[in-house]
């Protein structure tokens, strides 16, 4: 019993020592604090997608033609849809990825937007620009690709691969954000005399 009392005494004494030691470093000063909470910097977005004009799913494969003949053609379409906050201008260009350059040059492209012809000529020279500014705005491009009537026979049984690059361009204010989408195409000609 006596030992128990002594232990309690030691404990209380030790506690007091700790309390007093720490009290030495505390301030009893007045303090006023002002918080300006939830300051915020937030970035916007720039984004678009190539979508199938029928089911609106994302689209990256475009023309895929086998056995193309002179006078023959195929039709494809794409919806270029703004999906970010920032409006932008875009540019469409074509680059060959594989195959016979002469065939690629010979392929004729017609492009319509809102059923208005906006381009007619060699697919390799296709260059088009547009602007998507409003929320959820889109452009539907309908394209036909074919061989002219007078395609020489040395283009028979050849192939041409090309990509259609759709790239945002910096506007007047010069956003550092960019986006680029690609439509991949592959063309193989058949045989003819």
């Amino acid at each position: 019993m006596k030992n128990e009392k002594r232990s309690w005494f030691k404990l209380v004494f030790f506690g007091l020592v700790v309390l007093l030691a720490s009290a030495r470093f505390t301030d009893a000063d007045f303090l006023d604090r002002e918080d300006l909470a939830d300051n915020i910097f937030e970035a916007t977005t720039l984004d678009f997608a190539n979508r199938d004009t029928a089911n609106l799913t994302e689209k990256s494969l475009f023309f895929n033609i086998f056995g193309l003949q002179p006078t023959g053609f195929a039709v494809e379409s794409v919806r270029i849809k703004k999906e970010g906050n920032l409006g932008f201008t875009y540019q469409v260009v074509v680059e060959q990825t594989l195959g016979n350059p002469a065939l690629c040059q010979a392929l004729q492209l017609r492009v319509m937007r809102n059923w208005q012809l906006v381009y007619e000529g060699s697919v390799m020279a296709f260059n088009y620009s547009g602007a998507l500014i409003e929320e959820n705005e889109w452009h539907d491009l309908v394209m036909s690709l074919g061989l002219p009537d007078d395609a020489p026979s040395d283009l028979a049984n050849q192939n041409c691969g090309f990509n259609i690059y759709i790239t945002t361009m910096s506007g007047e204010q010069g956003s550092p954000f960019t986006d680029q989408e690609v439509l991949t195409s592959q063309i193989q000609t058949g045989g003819w005399l």
């Binding site: 301030d27 303090l31 918080d35 300006l36 300051n39 937030e42 916007t44 977005t45 999906e83 970010g84």
Partner: protein
């Protein structure tokens, strides 16, 4: 029957009693003030000082938080905000400035961002890259002279740097009662400092002012 027997009254007893009474009389007489005056002050009060500050816009309006949106709309961003800190108490105070609770959010990723940034949480606290691309400075103006005391970014791990640099560079800014100082918080980011990796990101933080009583020798 007498209270004290007659045979107990001796000459020495009488002498001792006379001495005791005599000493007591001299003692009492010597400790008595002959003149006495009492003045009572009825206006004596203890007054506790006050420590109080307010933070306001230079126009005198209540200070508002910083809101900068649509970052990425133009090539670069820059701006600033000035607060006036007034000591409206009766005691001098030492001012400290700090940024607390810096939170960088990813806010998910769109396709262009995902091509450059593998962290795409929503909100993705701590995963955002916007704050590390925004450089800030804090300038203290006191008594007509200004000095830049802090340079740091809004990266999450920079919070302690604001406090440390203030302590090191603000030169013990004490505001007397009725006095004031101006604190300007400026931000900037140039076109080469960020790209698609910050799309949709945000950074939030609290600006904290503390005015601590200045005690003698403290």
């Amino acid at each position: 029957m007498p209270f004290i027997p007659k045979q107990a009254i001796t000459a020495s007893l009488v002498r001792n009693l006379v001495i005791i009474v005599g000493v007591a009389a001299v003692g009492l007489a010597s400790t008595q003030a002959l003149f006495r005056d009492v003045e009572q002050s009825q206006q004596g009060v203890f007054v506790v000082g006050t420590l109080d500050m307010n933070v306001e816009e230079p126009s005198g309006q209540v200070a508002e938080s910083i809101v900068v949106s649509n970052i990425g709309e133009s090539t670069s961003i820059d701006g600033g905000k000035t607060w006036v800190v007034n000591n409206v108490g009766s005691l001098p105070g030492r001012l400290t400035f700090s940024l607390d609770n810096i939170r960088n959010y990813e806010n998910s990723c769109n396709e262009p961002e995902a091509l450059e940034d593998v962290t795409c949480g929503n909100p993705g606290e701590g995963e955002g890259e916007l704050g590390e691309n925004i450089e800030t400075t804090v300038t203290l103006t006191k008594g007509g002279s200004s000095s830049q005391v802090i340079t740091a970014s809004l990266a999450t791990d920079q919070a302690s740097s604001y406090q440390t640099q203030w302590i090191d560079n603000a030169n013990d800014p004490i505001i007397p009662p009725g006095g004031s100082v101006e604190v300007t918080f400026a931000w900037s980011a140039d076109e080469y400092s960020f790209g698609n990796e910050v799309q949709s990101d945000s950074v939030k933080f609290d600006v904290v002012y503390e005015l601590e009583q200045v005690i003698s020798g403290g």
